[in-house]
Symmetry: C4
Subunit: 191 residues, 4 copies
């Protein structure tokens, strides 16, 4: 089964997710600076979520580039990843409307956690059908970064109840480590 | 007429449908657990509808993979299927906002019924233009699962007025049988 | 300049338009039949607009199928068509929320008029760059149906102020004549 | 790394942005002309933003047409451009709901400024990886128009606090100069 439509559908879903988030930023009624200022947590959360969804699209792009064929299980592993990403606009809105209260920040981390987990799962499904010696398997071996991200979320989520900015700082840190697209695949693709 | 644009357009519409449903989950105003709890029917309905739309996309993907050419009637049979799918976010929102009251659950089933029917119709249009001996005709012969699904909805809809969870259970059961993508086509494609 | 991206972008925009219209159908607050009944004008208008946008997608598909190359002017002629189509959800919502009052029905017709006109314009731009002897020129000669549609809208719009259902009936009539995709191009493509 | 998915994703995001803007035009409650008239600033702003997003799509189309390969840095330079474009519906809504008050008009210009800047940046990233002698480098040399646009925004933004229509007029002027797609690339492509 070719991968073209999986890519096209994922592009479509991620494109809608990334653009729909901006709808959470309700147009303020006043025209003064004072009506724009209360939007700062909404804008900050939007930027973080935009970067996160952008990272997932970039990594998806890199990952699928190394893929040769797919099957029915990949379709569902991919839909599973898109499910958690589809919740990002909701938790972004909830977190920012409540000015980074403990529970919403933790739930936001929970969605990141499951998105990270489902990405690791998708990777493993792809490695399984391509074989241990495939390019995708070699480029992914260990997948330390993916597993470390999920581990960091596990630490960050309870910390949201101590100080919200510790949790958010850890989320941002993980984003930073992923900001650079997965060189491992690029390198493996070149060799 | 090539099938590429039909696939691209269907991908786009289904991508928007699946992501727009999450907009029905209104961001709660409080930051506590008590403001999240009332959302459980909305979340449950979202998961069910997400799985359903995911199933349709998967089956559409499998079906179109076996298609060699299309004509004007296929364009409309496909738009007809997308029409019923486009109503899924509306009935999902209505059903969940009313905590699975009888009528909304029945209407939700009605949309599933017509979506199922229009998928069977699309299949038959495709078989007609490919001929009785084509790969798509062989892989679809009888199309028992499609017809059984539609029959199950017919039984489930009136049962919504007895107990809502019987109807919803039957909808979920049908989803389960479709969760596994259509092996018939995969098998026919391999032979 | 190849036509692939023009098709992909148009597919995306039309997919969003056709799905966003359903957002105008606000989920009713009650769970009874009495809360569903007032939605009939909204649903009727949704069906009409869905068919109209579907027709434009079908015809766009047929038209672009015959196109060999495009240039900058085609990009803008196409964006111009998409502009009028993007107003369809707005006028659909306005017309149905006011139960087919005269002015909204006339404005709805106005948007159809300009969409029809911009489609004729797009066709003429394509004929111009392909030459008088091209397949697209032969299949389009006269473009009677396109011009008749625009003429019918011109008659229907003032009639909206006499009886709304005369205007709406004429819009539906035009839709019916377009329901069958443009056989002219299909025939020219075969010959 | 091939450019196909970058194009498909950008098409998707821009398609959603351009269509979502129309959602800012709230359906008026009355059916008379008097309920339509207050919408004129909203409609005017919608037209301007539609043309602007259309220009970006056209130029993106022209630019990517000349591109042969991309890398990870291009993915992010492109996402950066899409980020600023994704803010266009928000600032369009804010500006028009406040009838072109000084600050919203200035902020609207600010988003145009950063979108323009990020386009220049994307261009430079592409030139860097293709080399000084590449087609894209030759067609872009100096990129006077891109830099002049950014300079004009810098002048226009403070003028929004003097008279809103001077700033808006300058934004419209820049749009006009870009309305004609980038002939430089078309010419270079032909030679």
């Amino acid at each position: 089964m070719p991968k073209a439509r999986l890519e096209a559908f994922s592009d479509g879903v991620i494109a809608v997710i990334i653009t729909i988030m901006v709808l959470e930023m309700k147009v303020p009624h006043g025209a003064g600076l004072d009506s724009l200022v209360p939007l700062w947590p909404v804008f900050l959360a939007y930027v973080l979520s935009y970067v996160y969804v952008g990272i997932y699209w970039n990594n998806h792009h890199h990952l699928m580039h190394a893929v040769q064929h797919i099957d029915g299980s990949i379709l569902w592993a991919n839909l599973h990843l898109l499910f958690w990403l589809s919740l990002v606009p909701f938790v972004t809105g909830w977190m920012s409307e409540n000015h980074f209260a403990a529970l919403p920040v933790a739930v936001y981390g929970g969605v990141l956690f499951f998105a990270g987990l489902s990405y690791v799962l998708l990777t493993q499904c792809l490695v399984r059908i391509h074989g241990r010696d495939s390019r995708i398997a070699r480029s992914m071996h260990g997948d330390l970064k993916g597993k470390l991200s999920v581990a960091t979320y596990t630490v960050a989520i309870p910390l949201a109840f101590v100080r919200w900015w510790i949790a958010l700082g850890l989320y941002a840190l993980v984003a930073l480590t992923w900001f650079i697209p997965d060189r491992r695949i690029e390198r493996a693709a070149e060799s």
